[in-house]
């Protein structure tokens, strides 16, 4: 086993609902507190409990990680299924932590595995000449790959702590997560005080659980003394000081509160609902001793009501948003059209997941790009922006409100499950640099014209303003909002709404439209958006020794920044532009072709619902560059 690594990949696996989330949070907090950079992707089934879930982490002593990769140095398994599904993910000379009580289990003994998965695992093991039992797989890893097996009798270790504290046996299973955390912390050589910090943070309001888990850690630490620090990370050199350990959902929620959100509606849906729960948790906040808000968070009866109520709140003057995913957005589309017709500044935070229909509710995707850009009937101005990472998600959330209110248009903030559910250590956002732009407003009055045609953006008065009457309907209307079908008014009002797109493009700063990373004079340009950013940048870094690469992270998806993109790619040969997306169609390439005329033939697609990992991204680019592949479809990950 190597020692003093700068980065370590870890997979924690087990049955969903049985402690995995807790393990991830405790471990991530302990490591972040120690000063390491942490990123953790969470993969789980949609059936709530029992099926195979896993946490895929990368820990770094030298940077804040942006992506995860295979193979991993440590596989920590809570059950037999994790061993079967992930054994091939373990690096040579890596470590596998497993339950000795499960050693005799075979693939056929695992009820939660789908038949297809069992067949595939059996097939792989047969080719390797390995019996489909935990013991045989572990033995193969040890002999063939130099992996260090760490067998722990989960039952006997947990029995010790249960007896020590006379714990209710119904709650004994809670300590499996603590056992996994302890074992990983021991092999990483993490100091006791950081392990304690992780447990104490996780169980802030249940101190006895922190103490009991620390006792379990100490029991294990003593019995694993010879294994302590066998995968030790070098001392952290990131030096960021204060960091936040947050999911993408958390980051958007915090940004909404900071940005002045006053109304948030939602109907529960994966992977969006956690954002609303976080806002609700902090709806009564204080800043310098003064109350902020509160934010009203409303769970409506469906997404139609969620959209409609958010529109109502916006018309009444509140910074207003709703959050949803693909199926929910489908129901919001009529409201989106209404918001477009009535120039309503409302924000829809859209977390993509695997479709179509219910699809893969708890898996990731970027397949709703076209849906957000083109959904709805009629023509009207809308803005679609995306964020590539947690920090961008924070600032873009506030920018979404600014754009919505400045131009009085609906704004869709397009994110995805990967970002929503990935927990990462990030620096605290810089609040001083933030800008709140509520756009042109009016006190109203007796002669107020809500849709005044003297400018593209008519100053807004809020519903309820004194001596002010305004009319809103779904029909075409005049400057007061009265329904009219006069062709001249129709042309003026229709054009007024759509022509906002032009000024949005003119006035939006380039850095909000797109980010350009790497060599401007690159051999190859990679284009992507959203959560492709982290893995693309890491791949550009790795390949920079032999290739000059540039990554363009498109953030303003609509109206599309064709001028800025053309400025960068105009002189690049078409066969040296690569589009990357978590979808079948790599639809960003189509959007670029529609708006700029540039046809992109080189594409990297992934639509398994699992995130693109660094190893497969590097390999995909190499296949395109060195083996002239046009389309590379990725499928790594359990």
């Amino acid at each position: 086993m190597v020692s003093l690594l700068m980065e370590i990949g870890i997979v924690l696996g087990g049955p969903q609902g049985a402690g995995l989330e807790t393990s991830m949070h405790v471990l991530a907090r302990a490591l972040a507190r120690r000063g390491y950079g942490v990123i953790a992707d969470r993969e789980y089934y949609s059936n709530i409990t029992g099926r195979h879930s896993y946490i895929h982490m990368l820990i770094s002593s030298i940077r804040l990680p942006r992506s995860v990769r295979y193979p991993v140095e440590i596989l920590a398994s809570m059950d037999a299924e994790t061993v079967f599904v992930h054994f091939s993910d373990v690096a040579e000379n890596g470590i596998i932590i497993y339950d000795g009580g499960q050693a005799s289990k075979s693939v056929d003994d695992v009820p939660s595995m789908e038949g297809y998965t069992k067949d595939r695992v059996r097939g792989v093991l047969t080719k390797l000449g390995v019996e489909p039992t935990v013991r045989s797989v572990v033995s193969f890893l040890e002999k063939d790959r130099g992996v260090t097996p760490i067998e722990i009798s989960f039952a006997s270790e947990i029995r010790k702590v249960v007896n020590m504290f006379r714990i209710d046996p119904r709650q004994a299973s809670r300590y499996v997560s603590g056992l996994i955390v302890s074992a990983v912390a021991i092999v990483l050589g993490l100091e006791d005080k950081f392990v304690r910090y992780g447990f104490e943070q996780q169980f802030r309001e249940r101190r006895h659980l922190a103490e009991q888990n620390m006792a379990l850690y100490e029991i294990l630490r003593d019995s694993m003394a010879n294994l302590r620090g066998i995968a030790k990370l070098s001392d952290p050199e990131i030096g960021l000081g204060k960091v936040m350990l947050v999911t993408g959902n958390d980051m958007v929620a915090l940004a909404k509160i900071v940005g002045g959100l006053r109304y948030q509606s939602y109907y529960p849906i994966t992977p969006a609902a956690d954002e609303s729960f976080t806002i609700e948790k902090y709806e009564y906040s204080e800043l310098n001793g003064k109350a902020v808000g509160p934010v009203i968070v409303m769970q409506t009866e469906d997404e139609i009501a969620a959209m409609s109520s958010a529109i109502g709140a916006a018309l009444a003057g509140a910074r207003s948003a709703t959050a949803t995913s693909g199926p929910g957005f489908d129901l919001m589309v009529e409201g989106l059209s209404w918001a477009g017709a009535n120039e309503v500044p409302v924000v829809i935070t859209f977390y993509q997941r695997g479709g179509p229909s219910t699809g893969q509710p708890t898996r990731g995707s970027q397949s709703d790009l076209m849906s957000t850009v083109f959904a709805s009937h009629g023509e009207f101005a809308r803005v679609v922006i995306s964020s590539g990472d947690h920090m961008e998600a924070f600032y873009d959330t506030i920018e979404a409100f600014n754009i919505a209110e400045k131009y009085q248009v609906p704004v869709i903030h397009l994110l995805d499950k990967f970002l929503a559910n990935t927990i990462a250590s990030v620096p605290t956002p810089s609040i001083e640099m933030l800008r709140i732009d509520r756009g042109a407003t009016s006190p109203g009055g007796l002669s107020y014209k809500r849709f005044d045609l003297s400018s593209l953006v008519s100053p807004r008065a809020y519903l309820g303003s004194e001596n002010t009457v305004m009319w809103y309907s779904g029909d075409e209307h005049d400057e007061y909002g009265h329904i009219v079908e006069d062709p001249e008014i129709r042309v003026k009002m229709y054009s007024k709404r759509i022509e906002k797109m032009r000024i949005i493009l003119e006035e939006t700063p380039t850095e909000i439209k797109m980010g350009i990373y790497g060599d401007r004079d690159a051999d190859y340009i990679i284009i992507g958006w959203g959560s492709v950013k982290g893995v693309a940048l890491d791949a550009v870094d790795i390949l920079s020794k032999k290739l000059r690469l540039c990554y363009i992270n498109i953030r303003l998806l609509w109206p599309f920044p064709q001028k800025e993109l053309l400025d960068v790619v105009r002189s690049t040969p078409r066969d040296r532009i690569i589009a990357v997306e978590h979808s079948y169609g790599v639809n960003i390439a189509s959007l670029i072709e529609v708006t700029t005329g540039i046809a992109i033939d080189k594409k990297v697609a992934k639509f398994t619902g699992r995130p693109i990992t660094l190893n497969e991204m590097v390999e995909a680019i190499e296949r395109i560059v060195y083996r002239n592949a046009d389309r590379v479809v990725l499928n790594y990950g359990a």
């Binding site: 087990g14 049955p15 969903q16 609902g17 049985a18 402690g19 995995l20 989330e21 807790t22 969470r42 789980y44 089934y45 949609s46 059936n47 709530i48 409990t49 029992g50 059950d79 009580g101 003994d109 009820p111 939660s112 989960f154 039952a155 947990i158 029995r159 249960v162 007896n163 006379r166 714990i167 046996p169 119904r170 709650q171 004994a172 299973s173 809670r174 499996v176 529960p268 849906i269 994966t270 992977p271 609902a273 956690d274 509710p361 708890t362 559910n421």
Partner: protein
């Protein structure tokens, strides 16, 4: 697995995810712990007859091997030969803290 272990006892309710942990309904008040290799003097084998009686009285049983609920005798007979069938399971009430939304 030997038929003489807690997991085969009518008084033992295993955890649904980690069946090597669980609750002995007889020892509960005395602070029962987890499954042990040795059985106690109260061991009562979960025989087909006992399981049938439990099924009749409570309307369901649970197959730990398949993680499925059993609701009739025909199902019971098909599972009981090679699987571990129990008359009750333990589900930690904190499970909701661990389960992300799945709708």
């Amino acid at each position: 697995m030997s038929r003489k272990s807690c997991i085969h006892c009518m008084y033992f309710k295993p955890n649904v995810h980690y069946p090597y942990l669980g609750l002995c309904v007889l020892k509960n008040e005395q602070g029962s712990t987890v499954e042990t290799a040795e059985v106690c003097e109260n061991f009562k084998e979960a025989s087909l007859g006992e399981l049938k009686r439990a099924l009749e009285s409570q309307g369901w049983l649970y197959c730990i091997t398949c993680r499925k609920t059993i609701t009739d005798e025909e199902e019971l007979e098909s599972h009981v030969k090679n699987h571990i069938v129990v008359s009750g399971v333990v589900i930690d009430e904190a499970i909701s803290e661990e389960a992300p939304l799945g709708d």
